[in-house]
Amino acid sequence: MKMKVTLIKIFEFNNMIIAGAFSPRRNANLSQFSRTAAKIAIFVIALTLSIASFSPPASADFRAFSERVELSADGGAVSKISLVGDGAAGAMIPCSFQKASSASLGSGPSETALEIRNRGGANFIIVPAGVVQASAPVELTCKVSDAFDSAEASVTDFGNITGKYSFVNSTGQKIGSFEVTVVMPEGFLVNAVDEYQPKLSKNDPNDPFTLSVIGGRRAITLKCSNLKYGDRASLKWRMKSGKRSWGLLLLFLIAAAWYLVVFRDIINPRDHREHGHEKDARAKDLPDGGRSGANDGAAAEKK
């Protein structure tokens, strides 16, 4: 209704301008083509202004957005979102995963189911008006079945599984402080963080992510601030089982023991003589046939 009124007003205003601008007294020879072009341009401006009237007021934003994604070994996850801010008009919270099965508000007996709507291939949790408040955080929970591909085929070299998280701020509101923590499945560790956004800046060259341990499980936390409409916060990491191969330990221990036995002659000058070929090779390089070098070596050994 509001849009219709706005459009009518704009068109009335446009007609007044066109009537004045193209009156026969001022410009009788203006071509039909120019007139059409001007009308199109004005229509575009009108449309833009109409769309702009739908955007939320500048003051409405989320002061804090905090998400915790707890991954499980089967590829599923539970995402808990905590929101503080202006929710008077309701909100559409983008979900970072494709297969979000159910969403709810709060927990325990007071839990209320929330609608998940798919728009343009992306899932949104629909939060009713007035739920999100500036005074206290509100918790949303969402269950996900495709947080990462746990199938054996998706396990890459060295047992790594790639995980991805991507949040595009399509809430229509600015997010003052954004934080996401991805908790790895039990027994997994973060092997490497391959990509992240926001990127390092010239003024703050510290990584926006940190690695930590939460309740005995490995986690990555990404923090950023002032996430405007359309801004992205994302992570791509490799995780794998935290178990190390004991075969390598054995191999290295054998190598160390073998070296200590076979290379005893390094510290034992008598045994060192057995390696006469080394001295012979050196002697060939010396101008006097190695006589002086050999003497020096003997002197050093005597010392």
């Binding site: 790594n160 560790l189 092997n191 060259p205 690695l211 935290g242 221990l253 070296y259 290379f263 390089d285």
Partner: protein, 523 residues
């Protein structure tokens, strides 16, 4: 000059034996850099070699199998373990340094520390190319005897004793530092001269002496440390200035930097020159004089026998001069040519000229390129870059800072000493000055702000220490180049480097309490 020294009359003619001995001494073909020298070991070095192999493995196993610390990634932990093993093996040398580098690269890939593509790509880094080109350029100075002529001139004028010739090199490096910002370029320029001087004093890769250790390590110190005397001494210095300017909003001028830093640098170098031949690597009496019959007089006669500069020498001087000219004038390239000639490209252009028939002076077989050194460098850089890329180096620094428990009421000078110590010693872990600067300087700026002090009170003295990369052959490009001569071991480098670094720490602390305070840098 010849008029003042009556060569023919006062010293007579050289005997055949003297001539043969001198020719043999100065025949650098016998000490090719591309040949891996066999070293004689002292008993303590033998023990280190023997225990180094299992020691490295033990360090690796301890780090690799410990529970992954909270802030460290799995790859970071693997890289730390591998780097610890390599560091111990490089220092103790149970296997050749380039073999250790190859082991490091294999482990990096096989233990999922860093991608194979990244590891192998290190061989294409500018530092490796600069090294190769630099050794080609260095070969023309050796082949044409220009290096011998310059070295002989230097010795007959300053070489009456080992002390004075070592001091001459300190002054030479000081003079070159503000002219040529690229430290590797300075190393390349002076390397052939150092080699000839070392040979005259009886120090070769086959028979390293304390004179050689002092000469090469002191030049290593000079090349690196003098860079921190000037704001334009290295790119990392300029990055630090950029951070101080943008993050702290404080403008630092060339003279601000020079007046503050240079006195500390000069004092350090003089102390280094003094303690090197007397305490660290004491010279035996026979090492303090040129190792030839007749001493300086013989060298005068040799110089005279060389006659005027040959056409080849002049050509080598022009070729080398052209490259040096491009290095020195890099800031004007854009206005002159419309493009900038990078130091690597300048060296490459010089190398091309060296091989062009009629113009050049060198056949491929005459280029003395130590490929084993290239492999060593590649592994070392791969390790350093993997530490940085996995965040392991940054994590280690944070742990060190965490140990200090810095709060607002802490005494400024504790923090100051901690900052300088971390900046100076961190080069043992980080092989890139730029990376160290990018990680640490912003951190120090924020730290100073948190404590309520001017950002420059911590960040500027820390920036003065960026170029103190003197502890290991892998710490910087000139270190790698000089290590290729085989005149000193990794352990020698570590010993000299750590002692000079500690002297620097003390001097910077004293300067912070006095000179920097007078200049208004520290509170």
């Amino acid at each position: 000059m010849h008029e003042t020294v009556p060569i023919a009359t006062a010293h007579g003619k050289m005997t055949e034996q003297e001539q043969r001995e001198l020719d043999q001494l100065l025949d650098l073909d016998r000490h090719k850099l591309s040949v891996v020298p066999k070293k004689k070991m002292t008993p303590s070095e033998r023990w280190m070699k023997y225990l180094g192999f299992p020691g490295g493995i033990l360090a690796f196993l301890l780090i690799y199998y410990m529970e992954t610390p909270a802030g460290l990634s799995g790859a970071g932990q693997s890289v730390m373990a591998i780097f610890a093993l390599a560091l111990i093996w490089w220092v103790t040398e149970p296997v050749a340094t380039f073999v250790t580098s190859l082991v490091l690269m294999i482990l990096l890939v096989c233990l999922d520390g860093w991608d194979q593509k990244n590891v192998l790509a290190v061989f294409g880094l500018d530092v490796i190319w600069l090294n190769i080109m630099a050794f080609i350029l260095s070969s023309i100075l050796v082949k044409t005897n220009l290096a011998k002529r310059i070295a002989l001139n230097l010795i007959v004028r300053f070489g009456s004793s080992a002390g004075s010739i070592l001091l001459a090199f300190v002054i030479l490096q000081l003079a070159l530092a503000p002219l040529i910002p690229a430290t590797a370029a300075r190393a390349v320029m002076t390397l052939p001269i150092m080699m000839v001087v070392a040979a005259i004093y009886g120090a070769t890769s086959d028979h390293p002496t304390n004179f050689g250790r002092n000469l090469f390590l002191q030049n290593l110190m000079g090349i690196n440390i003098f860079s921190s005397g000037f704001m334009t001494g290295s790119t990392a210095n300029l990055i630090a200035i950029m951070f101080i300017n943008t993050m702290a909003g404080e403008k630092i001028y060339y003279t601000d930097w020079m007046f503050a830093s240079l006195p500390v640098i000069l004092t350090t170098m003089l102390i280094s020159w003094f303690i090197g031949p007397r305490i660290l690597f004491p010279l035996k009496p026979e090492e303090t004089k040129p190792k030839i019959h007749g001493g300086i007089d013989t060298l005068w006669r040799q110089l005279d026998r060389m006659g005027p500069m040959t056409f080849s020498e002049k050509k080598a001087a022009v070729l080398f001069g052209l490259v040096v000219f491009l290095w020195v004038t890099d800031r004007f390239h854009m206005s002159w040519f419309g493009f900038e000639v990078d130091p690597v490209m300048a060296a490459m252009a010089g190398a091309v000229l060296c091989f062009i028939p009629k113009i050049g002076l060198l056949q491929w077989n005459e280029a003395d390129i130590p490929w084993h050194l290239m492999l060593f460098s590649t592994g070392a850089y791969a390790g350093g870059m993997a530490l940085d890329s996995t965040g392991a180096g940054r994590w280690a620094i944070q742990q060190i800072f965490g140990m200090f428990r810095i709060t607002r009421d802490i005494n400024f000078w504790y923090v100051y000493v901690g900052v300088i110590a971390i900046m100076i010693y961190s080069h043992l872990v980080f092989t890139s000055k730029t990376m160290r600067t990018m990680i640490l300087i912003p951190f120090f700026i924020l730290l100073a702000k948190q404590l309520g002090y001017k950002a420059t009170s911590l960040a500027l003295p820390a920036a003065f220490c960026i170029d103190w990369v003197i502890g290991l052959p892998i710490s910087a490009k000139p270190n790698v180049i000089l290590f290729g001569t085989g005149q000193y071991s990794v352990l020698d480098n570590l010993k000299y480097g750590l002692i000079v670094a500690t002297i620097g720490l003390v001097l910077f602390t004293v300067a912070g309490l006095t000179w920097f305070r007078f200049l208004g840098i520290t509170p």
